[in-house]
Symmetry: C2
Subunit: 267 residues, 2 copies
């Protein structure tokens, strides 16, 4: 399957730019604090950002003390902005799509991906490749559209009263994984729905340990300021997961001879 | 908070009995195969069943080779049936509610719980107690009502067309954890809604590693036989999780001196 590059579409690109620059978006108010709360200390670490877009996060990772930051994206337009606005001596942007990260010949301590993974068809293959790019105990933190958002085949939507107030979220097709063609800024965008269990099991099968899961919702203050955020309590917008690459030696050892392992025996 | 004992209510008890004896229930066709698929080999193992009810599962665990099976339940009526219909030399039934399992002075290899945990107010306390009852690498397998089922404060329900056909599930309140008072066989049953992330994080915080998550759905054959099962593809009925108790020695060791561990060094 060909990687999707909607980001180089001019209409999408402009719409996306406006959205990203809105300081009151769910992106800024919900997703960003959640994903940053799950990052480990980046001091002296090598960080890879999958689907880095404009590179705002790469810039922040560098400021947080990372030794080296590599940002990859399928869109050369996005990377042009990243290089212009978020460059740095220790930041490298590369025009590689997430489907091709197996070509990266380097190991990282932390891999991050913000709101890009729901565009990827083969999640199992992706996380297996991420695992290979990480050092032992390496951390993978990613956010994606919430599985309840991606579920409906006719696009996520809300049931409204005659007065326009929301009564509930119209949930369908949650248990059916696969492609969803939706309209978002432009028509015909391909996203991929996966259930919670599919996501969790794929990470475990790729030799990750789940460390934390977040489904961020707006604070009371945000809802008081903008009541349209209240609906996110019915159905969150984002899912954020922190996973740790298992140390293969420990795993192998513990599986074969668990009883002889004690602190004393080894030291 | 007082433990809830709806099971000794006569109306509930009869209704529940009829439901359990229906071979075409979602319970039998979806939940049971899922929870059994996650059990480890029980040969020679000590098994604890939380909320064992009639003891059908305890009887099966014994037949699967378990050395000893302890079933606990809040309902003495249920346990009377368990003792009459599902007794065995190596099966012990005890009238203990799940809130009080800290009083059990014994360790187990496997703890199982089928469709009982959504009645428990304090999930974190429960899983912390389960962790203490398990041996190193002990396995905890449980099923509960799906978080999308427990979410709506007005009770789980479906949106129907004029002809009675289902269009979607009316999802509300998913992000709001807490008590839900619902009518199921009788009025005023207390259940507790928890998001996926709350459940997963509580297990991790209690020193478990997530091994597998299932959201079972009906097979094509089941739907062909009874089309009313098709709605479960929009919104599953059950969540089933397998978690492993971490070995404290390994954890401590790996956190302090990961680099010197190799298969060769130790053997």
């Amino acid at each position: 399957m060909q990687p999707q590059n909607i980001f180089d579409n001019e209409v999408f690109f402009q719409g996306y730019k406006n959205l990203r620059e809105n300081p009151n978006s769910a992106n800024i108010l919900e997703e960003k604090p959640a994903i940053f709360s799950l990052l480990p200390d980046l001091t002296g670490k090598k960080v890879l950002d999958l689907g880095c877009g404009y590179g705002e996060n790469c810039n922040l990772f560098s400021k947080m003390g990372a030794k080296k930051v590599v940002g990859i994206d399928v869109s050369s337009k996005m990377l042009a902005i990243a290089n212009a606005e978020n460059s740095g001596d220790n930041i490298l942007y590369e025009n590689i799509c997430m489907e091709n990260i197996f070509s990266i010949n380097e190991k990282f301590d932390v891999v991050v991906s913000s709101l890009a993974i729901h565009y990827i068809h083969d999640f199992s293959k992706l996380v297996s490749n991420v695992n290979r790019l990480l050092n032992d105990y390496g951390i993978f933190v990613f956010s994606q559209e919430h599985p309840l958002t991606t579920a409906p085949k006719d696009g996520a939507n809300w049931f409204k009263n005659a007065d326009g107030s929301i009564t509930h979220y119209k949930l369908t097709d949650y248990a059916i994984n696969g492609e969803r063609t939706v309209s978002w800024l432009v028509d015909g965008i391909r996203k991929y729905h996966r259930t919670f269990s599919s996501i969790i099991n794929a990470l475990i099968d790729a030799d990750f340990t789940i460390k934390k899961m977040l489904e961020p919702v707006p604070t009371k203050e945000i809802i008081a300021r903008d009541p349209s955020f209240a609906k996110d309590l019915h159905k969150p917008n984002f899912l954020v997961i922190k996973a740790e690459r298992n140390n293969k030696n420990i795993e192998k050892f513990s599986a074969t001879a668990p009883t002889i392992i004690t602190q004393r025996t080894i030291l």
